[in-house]
């Protein structure tokens, strides 16, 4: 496909998105609550679409499809465990929502800092989030750059794709904060679903429809329809992948921060249900796309190349391939701009403000906007190294963020939990995840996230029992909240 067509499609997407972002920014003031949380007034539909677009990224049609190509149906199982993890929002959503309003909280790290009465804890959680979300952001950039590179036959080099994707994500996050991000996300979610549906229907249709495709799979690659199947999805691998996904809704700040933003709990419920239905459909589409790739392009050296290669092949009409480029770019950009916004709010509120207690909203906002540029630069630099398999890098990031889970659960359910315990759990868990991840260690065959969470739970309980809790605040969080259900 010619570079001019690819640049044209990408340019059309950027123009439409920028218009939406510009329209959405009206009414955004220089207050942090307005910029980072859209004044806590997001409606249910926009919240649902934005939550979806933030959660689902290039990981789905590139990484998850690649994992299906590599290991088969186990990819469906672990991804759908993510949806069951949204049941955690039933318990934590109303609690986040209420304490967010009561204490004027902006970020999940700030929630922990207030509950445990420790600014140090807030700063450590913010720093942990930045460290673990940079690889996750970088894989979004990699997804777009790989697509442009492959589809243009190398005419749009990998580096140019990275720069384009970073520029768009920064611009839309910068323009109007969460209002711009949420509205561009909402439009992008619809584009993601429509384009993914169109290309998958086209390719599956060429394979004889769903019945024909599954019949061929049974004949040509039957192991792809069971676990452990071809040997990739051992039970330990499955748990290693599914555990971070189950806790994703509360461990990943770019989505847990959204629990502060709906205008009421009815809107939060619409967000939750809309996301779950969208998520099921989008997951099934991504898996079917990966299966189709397995049948049409067996023997690729890198599973992440299945989507770019399939789109550049004669199996997909050029017009649909262009649409897919836009859809997958939308998925990636809508995730990275939300991450940039959340991390920048953490830098402003949880790292900068404790050092400069007199900082007003305007100064915090300026710091936050500066942080968007710095974090985007770090993600770009990480992506340039082309770290590894997209799916694995994504899960590794979420494995790292698992270390905040014990402190979050304890914040609302265990009054005995202390600041020292929470701090120890984040630090100990983080060290274990980093050591096992970089050392490529799998004791008992279990993945870093499992060991990180175990170490984090142990440190939280033991250190909390050895130290004195802040009783009044603990009581406020554990017993003082009204719950609708």
């Amino acid at each position: 496909m010619s570079p001019a067509m690819l640049y044209g499609a990408f340019a059309a997407y950027v123009v439409v998105g920028t218009l939406v972002a510009a329209l959405a920014r009206r009414g955004v003031t220089q207050e942090v609550e307005s910029y980072f949380l859209a004044n806590r007034r997001l409606g249910g539909l926009v919240s649902a679409l934005s939550y979806t677009a933030t959660t689902y990224s290039a990981f789905m049609m590139v990484g998850l499809a690649g994992l299906t190509y590599r290991g088969g149906v186990g990819a469906l199982g672990f991804e759908l465990v993510y949806l069951s993890g949204l049941s955690l929002v039933v318990f934590f959503g109303p609690r986040f929502w209420e304490v967010g309003r009561r204490w004027g909280l902006i970020s999940p790290a700030e929630l922990l800092a207030v509950r445990y009465d420790s600014r140090l804890l807030g700063a450590v959680v913010a720093a942990t989030s930045v460290i673990f979300l940079i690889p996750y952001s970088s894989v979004q950039l990699t997804g777009i750059a790989l697509l442009l590179d492959r589809m243009s036959g190398g005419a749009i080099p990998f580096g140019a794709g990275l720069l384009l994707a970073t520029g768009v994500a920064v611009a839309w996050a910068w323009m109007g904060g969460l209002r711009s991000v949420a509205w561009t996300d909402a439009v992008q979610a619809l584009v993601m679903l429509a384009t993914a549906l169109a290309i998958t229907a086209s390719v599956v249709g060429r394979l004889g429809g769903l019945g024909g495709m599954f019949a061929r799979l049974q004949l040509e690659a039957p192991e792809w329809l069971a676990v452990p199947g071809n040997g990739y999805f051992t039970w330990q691998t499955f748990v290693g992948l599914s555990l971070p996904w189950f806790f994703f809704a509360i461990s990943n700040p770019q989505v847990s921060q959204r629990l502060f933003a709906p205008r009421d709990l009815a809107a939060m419920r619409r967000m939750l249900m809309g996301f779950l239905i969208f998520g099921l459909v989008y997951t099934l589409i991504s898996i079917l796309w990966g299966f189709a790739g397995r049948l049409l392009l067996p023997g690729l050296p890198n599973p992440d190349l299945v989507t770019p290669t399939l789109l550049a092949s004669p199996h997909v009409p050029p017009a649909l391939a262009l649409l897919a480029l836009v859809g997958i770019s939308a998925a990636a950009v809508s995730t990275i701009n939300s991450i940039l916004l959340t991390l920048s709010s953490m830098v402003a509120r949880d790292l900068f403000r404790p050092l400069w207690p007199g900082a007003d909203d305007r100064l915090q906002l300026a710091v936050g906007k500066g942080a968007i540029l710095v974090i985007a630069g770090l993600a770009l630099a990480f992506a340039w190294t082309q770290g590894g398999l997209i799916a694995i890098l994504s899960v590794a990031s979420s494995a790292g963020l698992l270390v905040t889970v014990p402190a979050l659960i304890g914040a609302f359910y265990w009054p005995r939990g202390t600041a020292a315990g929470a701090l120890a759990s984040v630090v100990m868990g983080g060290v274990v995840v980093l050591a096992t991840q970089w050392g490529n260690l799998r004791p008992l065959g279990l993945w870093p996230g499992v060991w990180g969470l175990a170490a984090s739970c142990l440190a939280y309980v033991v250190v909390s029992l050895l130290t004195r809790p802040t009783e009044a605040r603990a009581r406020d969080f554990v017993a003082g909240l009204r719950q609708p259900a």
């Binding site: 199982g77 949204l86 049974q218 329809l225 009421d264 939750l272 009204r482 609708p484």
Partner: protein, 80 residues
């Protein structure tokens, strides 16, 4: 009643999540067709969504507006 609903929902979710990790490995590893693990995990997701829908059914606008504005404002001032 509300707590009862949460407890029942949580119990159902625990059973569902456990089954998602056990059934395909224990009983469906030999079924190499769409009606094996593919169908099981899809039904698992549909059931999970149904349970979440049931658990959140009481989340209505009137019940959600129960935040105490005066207390909230006071606490924010205190923090500032």
């Amino acid at each position: 009643m509300a707590k009862h609903r949460l407890r029942i929902g949580a119990a159902w979710m625990a059973v569902l999540v456990l089954s998602a990790h056990v059934v395909p490995y224990a009983w469906l590893s030999g079924v190499r067709a769409w009606y094996g693990s593919f169908l099981f995990w899809t039904l698992f997701a549909v059931a999970s969504i149904a349970v979440v829908a049931w658990m959140t059914a009481p989340w209505t606008h009137s019940e959600a507006s129960g935040t105490r504005p005066s207390a909230a404002a006071g606490e924010r001032r205190e923090r500032a």
